[in-house]
């Protein structure tokens, strides 16, 4: 397991990617051992807010020992992060969580499905699975769902995968959500990796079960410690969980990515 640390990270660049969505590169030792699907806890300078904000790692650049975070401004913390300029420092905790099980996609047809701010965590996954950095998939297909025509990161996904888009307003790709796109495009696959809002994840789980596909889902929950100590961020599991000995797994440590079959959603 990679050693977790809380460290200052240097802002290398930050730009607006789409309405309210920011694209931030941070130079940090944490980059050395980060796997796709893992996240970091980002601290605010604002002392009224003391808990770290969980933000997924979107991309890793090992040469520059840098990670990329793509986040939506939704509250005090993310609003503060958006103000950072190159050269500024931010305090981050990581790497956190377990990431996507790339080995489950090895030599397989994998579909990566992301909705809204669930899109970014899949970029590094797509990259590694297509380039075979760790494990190589047979075929990498991505299905990304957006609100409208602001399809942030889509050109980058095209580099590593066959990309299908769904949009709520129908302005790009399939009108509807990612499952609608999957069905419309009759995409078949062995494995799904997904990240996005709960209704989407529930839909994917059902779809995967019906079609005999393995699905791995990245979940979100309110967190305090981010390291598995506070038991704040649990999700319900089908079986008694190994750590808790009740049917609760910790999203921050046992996840955020879970085998859909293990989840009681």
């Amino acid at each position: 397991m990679t050693k977790k640390m809380k460290k200052e990270a240097k802002v290398l660049s930050q730009k607006l990617l789409a309405d309210g969505i920011f694209d931030l590169w941070l130079e940090t030792e944490i980059a050395r051992d980060t796997c796709p699907g893992q996240f970091v806890g980002v601290y605010t300078v604002n002392k009224a807010a003391l808990l770290p904000r969980p933000i997924s790692v979107c991309e890793v650049n090992k040469e520059k020992t840098a990670i990329r975070l793509v986040y939506r401004v939704v509250g005090t913390g993310t609003a503060e992060f958006a103000l950072y300029q190159p050269g500024d420092y931010m305090m981050i905790l990581g790497p956190l969580g377990s990431g996507f099980p790339l080995e489950k996609a090895e030599g397989k047809k994998v579909v990566l499905m992301g909705g809204g701010i669930g899109v970014p965590p899949l970029l590094e996954t797509a990259k590694r699975l297509s380039e075979g950095t760790d494990k190589k998939a047979l075929d990498v297909i991505t299905v990304m769902g957006y609100r409208n025509s602001e399809t942030f990161l889509s050109e980058e996904f095209e580099k590593y995968s066959r990309l299908y888009i769904a949009s709520d307003d129908g302005s790009v790709g399939t009108k509807g959500n990612v499952i609608d796109a999957l069905k419309e495009k009759k995409i078949d696959c062995d494995v799904i990796f997904a990240c996005g809002p709960m209704p989407m994840l529930k839909g994917i789980k059902a779809y995967a079960q019906e079609n005999g596909i393995k699905a791995y889902l990245s979940l979100e929950e309110r967190m305090a410690c981010g390291v598995g100590a506070c038991l704040g961020c649990i999700c319900k599991t089908k079986k008694v969980d190994d750590h808790s000995h009740v049917k609760n797994a910790r999203i921050c440590t046992d996840g955020p990515v879970f085998d859909a079959d293990d989840l009681d959603m």
Partner: protein, 301 residues
Amino acid sequence: MNTKVKIAGVEFNNPVMTASGTFGSGMEYAEFVDLNKLGAVVTKGVANVPWEGNPTPRVAEVYGGMLNAIGLQNPGVDVFINRDLEFLKKYDTKVIVNVCGKSVEDYLEVVERLSDEERVDMLEINVSCPNVKEGAIAFGQKKEALFDITSRIKKVSKKPIIMKLSPNVTSIAEMAKAAEAAGADAISLINTITGMKIDIYKRKFALANKTGGLSGPAIKPVAVRMVYEASKAVNIPIIGMGGIASAEDAIEFIMAGATAVAVGAMNFHDPYLTGKVVDGIEEYMRNYNVDDINSIRGIVE
């Protein structure tokens, strides 16, 4: 320079402990802090059987702190002994096990089970968790109930007993006295203060449990005051906690009358904090010529 403190015959290398429920059994934080450096590891509350805890969201951030309504999720005393206590055997620090229950019998069962465990130095009885409906806090809000449960636990326990008091009471001094009168070896305070947060856009409670326990720097002045009041009311040692974020805060509790202190929610802000508090206390002692940490206890005028 002496940083050792003694509580009920147990000697701690220094007065810095972890607040129950904020540090697991130390496993998760062992990556950040050398557990041997701590005065004691105080574990998450453990019950006779596994508890599921509350639905999520279980935590919410508030100004200068957080609310939690974990609901005392725990794997039960058997798993705890086999896994957590085993893990702690690797370390040379004192171990205080936090005990929870829904009825007096629940508590007694856990206390008896742990009484013969060598790795356990003391037991901390949580009668003040605001987040479980049955029992728990009721014992910590009525002095008669507190007296009763304390004396019954004392009868069966072979380990020294710390009663963990709730701040959600009119008079902490009376509660402290009841615990002392019933034979408690020490008291610890404060547990969290019951609070609430509402999301005005969703028109919903931020926590599934509606209310949760407030902790963090926001509650420190209340905690210091209660430690002071309790220390004037009783002669048994006090473990002080509530919002400790630095060595200075820890010393503030000691000057208010605490023999030891515990770091809670601020571990989440800084996973290295417990170690820093240990170092910072020594630095303070050096800089201000304090030879013995026990000499500044309750020294405030």
